[in-house]
């Protein structure tokens, strides 16, 4: 086969210009379907159970913690005067930030025709949705009277209550709920053709019915594909501004206030960069073990890893620039309160958290300048975890160190979380991983149709591809 194919090619491009293929080992189209669907069809592997059981337990802990907090009072958490927000808002922003990579990959990279997105977009989108779900818990339950949360929505009611639209918390409500809705829709629309594949391969009745319902009668006809592509493109267009808007608006929660350390115009772009940075960090953390465990190394290749490392490097450097710029502005702005806040951030009682953040977010990604590091899954995995930790501490630094020493020295304080704070946060991991593991088990973890479309065989001009009768 190869010999005939080679005869048709005039000459190979020079080695250094040849791109690493996005599907390794010249895998065939049939193999791709098999490899992805197998995850949902094979016997449940042991590692899945080993991961699932603790996840469910932690999810249960989350429920207990939230129940305790709602019935007893916000006081079970560590936030206090003057730091009225603590881990609740830190975790909210952190999870929301993680939820940024999915939509960026699926929408912006789609519009930019970045073909490598296909290998990772499905899992990243799932991660986005679950992360936003985890994030949404915090603003909903951190308030004093959870049962009145609906007052934050513009629902006509007999009390003549209406939200106060000047508050960035209101913008948050709209931004996050819109983001979640669009991301979920986008994800589901993308899933439809692949669910149909699982449906077609399903052996049990229940599976046939369930996937049949979920795949909305997909038949793979040209008309379906045509409508699907249009719909997908529109959704990608709708999602793209959301990638920028959500975290911009979350950043306005801080920037609109007049607290030194929050009140700064750099926040929207800096938050978006940070969110993408943390999102890619989390995608790497999740996909590096997954490609091994699910035996999908040929679909999520080292080239994918390499590219994601580069995005991390770029956004991490933007974040590092923002940190420096904040300091510059604090000095240049001449406001002594502002200046003190930033000095206190770095050298005050919470200085350790600042340096932890700085090391994780600014120094870590710089390792990705080196190709051998980008190619070493173990190093990348460890560095990606540092990115996650660093981004958590970024939110910690912003929320806590700004609040703990503000204008009046009389109200300065020191914030410590309680065990309930910690268990609630760990509990959201339980929720996240429970959902993610269920997703792995029941949905195609890679966009089968799209990956097929980027194989050489799908390219009509490729020697092995399309109408010229390649291999299936």
């Amino acid at each position: 086969m190869a010999s005939t194919a080679n005869k048709l090619v005039l000459q190979d491009p020079p080695r250094e210009l040849e791109r690493e293929p996005l599907v390794a080992n010249h895998r065939s189209i049939g193999w791709i379907s098999d490899a992805v669907c197998r995850v949902t069809e094979d016997k449940v592997p042991l590692w899945w159970w080993l991961a699932f059981v603790p996840s469910v337990i932690f999810m249960g802990i989350l429920g207990l913690m939230l129940g305790y907090q709602i019935t007893t009072g916000v006081g079970v958490w560590g936030n206090h005067h003057p730091e009225m927000w603590g881990w609740d808002i830190i975790n909210f922003v952190w999870w929301i930030g993680i939820g940024h990579a999915g939509t960026l990959i699926s929408a912006i990279l789609f519009l930019l025709r970045q073909k490598w997105r296909t290998g990772v977009n499905r899992a990243a989108e799932a991660m986005t949705i679950f992360a936003v779900m985890c994030a949404g818990i915090f603003p909903a339950v951190h308030v004093g009277r959870v049962w009145y949360d609906w007052w934050l929505f513009p629902i006509p009611n007999p009390y003549n209550l209406w939200p106060q639209f000047r508050s960035p918390l209101m913008w948050d409500v709209f931004a996050v709920s819109t983001y979640f809705t669009v991301s979920a829709l986008f994800w589901y629309v993308g899933l439809v053709p692949d669910l149909a594949i699982i449906r077609d391969r399903a052996k049990t009745k229940i599976k046939k019915i369930a996937y049949g319902l979920l795949s909305l009668g997909w038949s793979g006809s040209n008309r379906h594909w045509s409508n699907y592509e249009k719909c997908y493109l529109i959704l990608a267009g709708v999602s793209t501004p959301l990638v920028l808007s959500v975290h911009s608006i979350v950043s306005l929660d801080f920037a609109v206030s007049q607290l030194p350390g929050w009140h700064t115009t750099i926040f929207p772009p800096y938050f978006v960069a940070g969110a993408i940075f943390s999102g890619f960090g989390m995608v790497l953390t999740l996909l590096l073990p997954l490609r091994k465990l699910l035996k999908l190394e040929d679909l999520i290749t080292m080239r994918h890893v390499d590219l994601m490392c580069k995005v991390t490097l770029a956004t991490g450097s933007i974040v590092g620039y923002a940190y420096c710029m904040e300091f510059f502005i604090a000095w240049y702005g001449g406001n002594p309160y502002e200046r003190f806040t930033f000095m206190n951030r770095a050298f005050g009682p919470y200085g350790w958290s600042y340096f932890l953040m700085f090391a994780c977010n600014v120094i870590t990604p710089q390792f990705f300048w080196f190709k051998w590091i980008r190619q070493n899954v173990w190093v990348v995995f460890i560095l990606s975890i540092f990115v996650n930790i660093g981004m958590w501490f970024e939110r910690f630094v912003i929320v806590v160190t700004s609040l703990h020493r503000d204008f009046l020295p009389s109200s300065w304080g020191y914030y410590k979380p309680t065990i309930v704070d910690i268990m609630t946060y760990l509990g959201t991991f339980g929720l996240f991983f429970t959902l993610f593991l269920l997703f792995l088990r029941f949905a195609p973890v890679i966009a089968i149709g799209e990956v097929k479309a980027i194989t050489p065989y799908a390219d009509p001009h490729h020697p092995l591809g399309g109408a010229k009768g390649g291999h299936h």
Partner: protein, 1072 residues
């Protein structure tokens, strides 16, 4: 607003049935059996339609749903009962004020007490009293809570039986003229008590009277009596004094009648270029008076006598101080220049000695006053009866000899607080019978035979004399809740006197006719009863014998001095079960729910103890284990031991959660050294303690939040304005107009407040007044430790170091150190202290309002920043965005749960004794103010209920006319009303003639954080530090201004003004 109804009468008899048969045969049961449907079923026939059915069903479904959700989200079930008959002279919801008085040890505070539906709810000072301006102290304000204390003592058996026993005592001792009968009293000024005491002494000539106060201000009387040779009490006129030297006398805080002293002191403290008083303080502990001082010398208490002698040597002719040399380390120039200043003041100078100081120091003070010609000018002497009660040591001796058959203890708590060497718990038992009248079931009642519950002063008839001698009738506002007795009743019964009713006794003592009596009750005082000052001269002969025995030995590291101090919150322990007082931050340490071994930085360093570390403190064979707390400005080798905590048996608050609150230092205190003692040793213990301190950070960090000027700058607005933040180029412009500016035009009034920092001494009276007025809950030590105290009004207290010390500090970058390390920093050794009442600033462009997503905090057209509790969801963003951090969040259901049980999950939590935990305390609440539930934010409202009340009253008065503007002075906020120094002014800033407008027009007026342009309605008047240029510790600028100047010199690249030592903080305008 919920209104608590008067109690519903109980059904007359409970119906029991004896047997099933009798129940079956009752008419009701017969009717039940005879009827086919139960009563009421048929009545519904006519109009029970589908809608009613739906209503019932949906209601029960809703209830079922609420049940599932758990009590956490359920509306409380409440019942209301109407009056069957309306009492005469009663309008529901309209409060009444009654004049009465709060008795103190050596005086009284005349009061007007507010009563709602028959229950007293708020204590206010009586401004009509000739010697009062309506100010009160922190204890009078908090006394209302003690009235409703569920831990109050009650009769153990029937009340009548106890009273009979008292009658038996009278009968028993009428046989032997009272031999073996002893009374132990507290200090008091009641004319009726004096009269009964004399009557008993006439009847029982052998009966003995003793008096004991752990914190005894009687030394002032004793010293004055000794000094002038007749029975007099001194009356210090701080308003006349221009140069005051306090010899360890905390006359603005811990000493007697401080509310009065604050009022008078503030009068001569009012800012002016040349007529302002100047305060010199020589003391060991940092006190409220020390915080207000212009020049403060820190010396151990035992060395104060040397300072007094040195001053006397300069001023008193013929006095030789060579036997008492100045202690090492005291600058002789300080003493000399202080003496010169006092001399220059002459008759307008005043020297006072503190109650802890021995008689000799008091006599020296009188001698100096005499030499200055101040006797009769700044200190008056007023005739007082000398009852010649003996001290507790004499009683102990008598008990040990077995001379006492029956001991009657009226008030006090000697088992807890008597001198340790008397071993009182055992000594007391040597009397055959111990009768005790006590407010609590405390340590003393545990070893008494007959315990009688004492009535609260708001439950009892009585009389007292204020410091000027004016008689004030103590009028009850409520029947004794637990049937308690007054001192007068017990004395009369034991004395077997004819009249045993407190009302009649009081009335008889007053000798007033019907109309005069009514007037006295109405006005709150008996007019023209003030005692007249008597002309006296100092008798120099008394000085020599008093000083003969004086030996001054300096304390050292191995030989520490301890000072037994009256606690600012719980006094000598009598308020240890009052939640408001236990939780109010100490004015100096800002500590709540605790006391500690107070120590200076250097001493702590020498002894090798860390802040909050436990130590074993040994003195004369006794040891106490307690943690230390480093206090700036403390004398070295001196330990401050605030009394009143560590109660073995005190009640729910004093023994919070079954543990003693704070530490008991009485075991170290002997009869011979009630004030201070030398010879203590400390050994550190490797254990830390956790304090609940409301202000962790001590330094102002050079921020111009509190501004200070010097007298020269009074009247120069630039002096204060210069500390404003430089405006941006082009001036302060807003991008869009503030919507409030348009709304403002609609308001009839524009409320505003001004606080004069120059007269504020940080006494906390306003804080408790606010708590009482606004139903602010007590949250417990754990919550305070977590920074969740609920006080709407707090007093910020900052220390500022000498410029040199501050310079070292900023070079070492100690500014950025964690707060728990600041106790090691050297700048705290000789600080200047500033205080600032801090509450909602009522910004016109309020940052809290714009960030609330649900419109829960909004502005009204009169400029109040309002908090709508019902609308609050509890995002807490408003607090984060409040630059003053004055908003308070209900993290738990503080008003519904016992604060020991805040963390119990709602579903498993069962209140133990709801009836006495909550019901009684509820009576203390102000029905005009909403009680907040958990999850909502709250804050100062400028007492909106008082504003609205006044507006409604004015509208009623105006009728059809347009005269609806409330007159200036009609509304006093709770804090303003309570402030004895009159530091707080409130009113309508629309009216240019109103007091608040005039205050705001003062050159010292400034806005905190003005550069945020939130336009606060609360402004402050800068403090004036009146230093003597000749003093060695003179500094041309107040430390705060100096540090500000040094700091801002940095941020404006050093241009123009920096270390200006020309006697003025930056005179030029704001730099650009």
């Amino acid at each position: 607003m919920k209104t608590i109804p008067p109690p519903c009468p109980e059904p007359e008899t409970t119906k029991y049935f004896r047997s099933i048969e009798s129940l079956e045969n009752s008419p009701e049961a017969r009717a039940w059996v005879d009827r086919e449907f139960p009563a009421g079923a048929s009545e519904n026939e006519g109009d029970f339609n589908r809608r009613d059915f739906m209503k019932l069903m949906s209601a029960s479904m809703a209830l079922a749903g609420a049940g599932i959700l758990g009590s956490g989200c359920r509306k409380p079930e409440q019942h209301i009962y109407p009056f069957a008959k309306l009492p005469d002279d009663y309008v529901h919801g309209v409060s009444k004020f009654y004049a009465t008085a709060f008795p103190t040890r050596n005086g009284a505070i005349p009061l007007l007490v507010k009563s709602h539906e028959g229950r007293p709810t708020k204590v206010e000072g009586n401004p009509e009293h000739p010697d009062s301006n309506g100010g009160t102290d922190v204890f009078a304000q908090a006394s209302i809570l003690s009235l409703y204390d569920p831990d109050r003592a009650q009769f153990n058996g029937p009340r009548e039986a106890a009273l009979t026993k008292l009658g038996d005592i009278a009968t028993k001792f009428s046989a032997n003229q009272g031999a073996g009968l002893a009374f132990l009293l507290e200090r008091g000024t009641s004319p009726s008590r004096n009269r009964l005491q004399l009557a008993i002494q006439q009847k029982f000539s052998a009966a003995k009277f003793y008096a004991y106060e752990p914190v005894d201000f009687d030394i002032h009387r004793q010293a004055a009596t000794t000094a002038v040779g007749r029975s007099v009490t001194p009356y210090f006129k701080y308003d006349q004094a221009k140069a005051i030297l306090s010899l360890d006398c905390d006359f603005l805080g811990g000493d007697g009648e401080s509310h009065l002293n604050m009022r008078d002191f503030s009068k001569s403290r009012r800012a002016s270029k040349d007529a302002m008083n100047r305060l010199y303080v020589a003391e060991a502990l940092m006190s409220q008076t020390g915080m207000s001082a212009d020049h403060r010398l820190r010396v151990p208490s035992s060395q104060v006598i040397a300072i007094a002698a040195a001053i006397a040597a300069k001023l008193v002719a013929g006095f030789d101080a060579s036997k008492i040399p100045l202690p090492a380390g005291v600058d002789a120039k300080w003493v000399e220049e202080c003496a010169n200043d006092l001399k220059a003041g002459g008759a307008t100078s005043l020297v006072v000695a503190g109650y802890r100081q021995p008689l000799a120091v008091h006599l020296l003070a009188h001698a100096i006053n005499g030499a200055l010609g101040a006797l009769g000018k700044t200190v008056e002497f007023r005739e007082t009866p000398d009852l010649k009660e003996q001290g507790i040591a004499a009683l102990a001796e008598s008990l040990n000899k077995g001379e006492v058959d029956t001991l009657v203890i009226l008030g006090g708590n000697p088992v807890y607080n008597a001198p340790a060497d008397l071993n009182w718990a055992v000594t007391q038992r040597k009397a055959k019978t111990v009768v005790r009248l006590g407010y609590y079931e405390d340590e003393t009642s545990a070893v008494a035979d007959l315990n009688l519950p004492a009535a609260h002063y708001l439950e009892s008839w009585g009389d007292v004399k204020t410091a000027d001698g004016t008689t004030v009738i103590v009028q009850p506002l409520i029947q004794p809740l637990f049937g308690g007795l007054t001192e007068l009743e017990v004395l009369a019964r034991i004395g077997g006197l004819a009249e045993m009713d407190a009302y009649k006794i009081t009335r008889e003592t007053s000798g007033l006719g019907e109309e005069a009596w009514k007037k006295a009750l109405h006005d709150g005082f008996v007019a023209n009863t003030a005692s007249k000052p008597v002309a006296v001269t100092f008798n120099p002969a008394v000085l020599a014998p008093a000083l003969a025995s004086v030996t001054v030995s300096a304390p050292s590291k191995e030989n520490l001095e301890v000072i037994f101090a009256r606690d600012y919150s719980v006094d000598d322990g009598r308020w240890a079960n009052n939640g408001w007082l236990v939780e109010v931050p100490d004015p100096v340490t800002k500590m709540t729910w605790d006391n500690a071994v107070l120590v200076s930085r250097k001493t702590a360093e020498e002894l090798g103890v860390k802040n909050t570390q436990f130590v074993e403190l040994a003195l004369a064979g006794k040891t106490v284990r307690a943690p230390v707390w480093v206090v700036p400005g403390m004398a070295n080798h001196t330990l401050g031991l605030p009394l009143g905590f560590g109660r073995a048996k005190g009640g729910r608050i004093a023994n919070f959660n079954g543990k003693q609150v704070g530490f008991d230092f009485y075991p170290l205190r002997n009869a011979a050294n009630q004030g201070f003692a030398i010879g203590a040793k400390i050994s550190p213990v490797a254990e830390q303690y956790s304090f609940a301190c409301t202000q962790d950070h001590w330094s102002l960090e050079g921020r111009p939040i509190i501004r200070e000027i010097i007298p020269k700058q009074v009247g120069d607005p630039k002096a204060v304005e210069a500390m404003d933040f430089p405006p941006p180029p082009g001036g302060n412009q807003s991008l869009y107009p503030n919507p409030f500016d348009a709304i403002k035009a609609k308001g009839l009034h524009q409320w505003g407040m001004a606080i004069d920092l120059n007269t504020c001494v940080g006494c906390n009276a306003c804080v408790i007044a606010c708590q009482s007025e606004n139903n602010v809950p007590v949250v417990g030590k754990d919550q305070v430790r977590r920074g969740r105290e609920m006080l709407w009004l707090r007093i910020d207290r900052y220390f500022t170091g000498t410029p040199a010390a501050e310079k070292i500090r900023s070079e070492k970058n100690e500014v950025l150190q964690p707060d728990w390390d600041q106790y090691k920093q050297t700048w705290i050794d000789d600080p200047q202290v500033v205080t600032q009442p801090m509450m909602c600033q009522h910004c016109e462009a309020a940052p809290c309002e714009s960030v609330c997503p649900v419109n829960a905090t909004v502005h009204d057209e009169e400029g109040l920043n309002l908090m709508v509790y019902n609308r609050c969801v509890g995002t807490r963003y408003c607090s984060n965005n409040c630059p003053w951090k004055v908003r308070r969040f209900n993290y738990f259901d503080y008003t519904k749960r016992p604060i020991t049980n805040l963390y119990k999950p709602t579903l498993t939590f069962k209140p133990t004794k709801p009836e006495d935990e909550f019901e009684l305390l509820k009576l203390a609440r102000n029905p005009d103010v909403t009680v907040r539930m958990r999850g909502v934010m709250e804050k100062c409202t400028f007492c909106v209920q008082r504003i609205e009340g006044a507006k409604i009253a004015q509208k009623v008065k105006a009728g059809q006319s347009a005269d609806v503007i409330v007159r200036d002075g009609t509304i006093k906020t709770a804090c303003q009303q309570a402030c004895p120094a009159e530091s707080i002014t409130f009113g309508d800033i629309n009216d240019p003639k109103s007091a608040v407008s005039l205050a705001k027009a003062d050159s010292r007026n400034y806005t905190t954080l003005e550069f945020l342009y939130t336009k606060p309605r609360l402004t402050y008047l800068a403090r004036v530090r009146n230093q003597n240029e000749k003093m060695p510790d003179y500094h041309p600028m107040p430390f705060t201004s100096q540090v500000y100047s040094d700091h801002s010199g940095g941020h404006e690249s050093g241009g123009g003004h920096g270390g200006g030592t020309n006697g003025a903080p930056k005179k030029e305008g704001a730099p650009h």
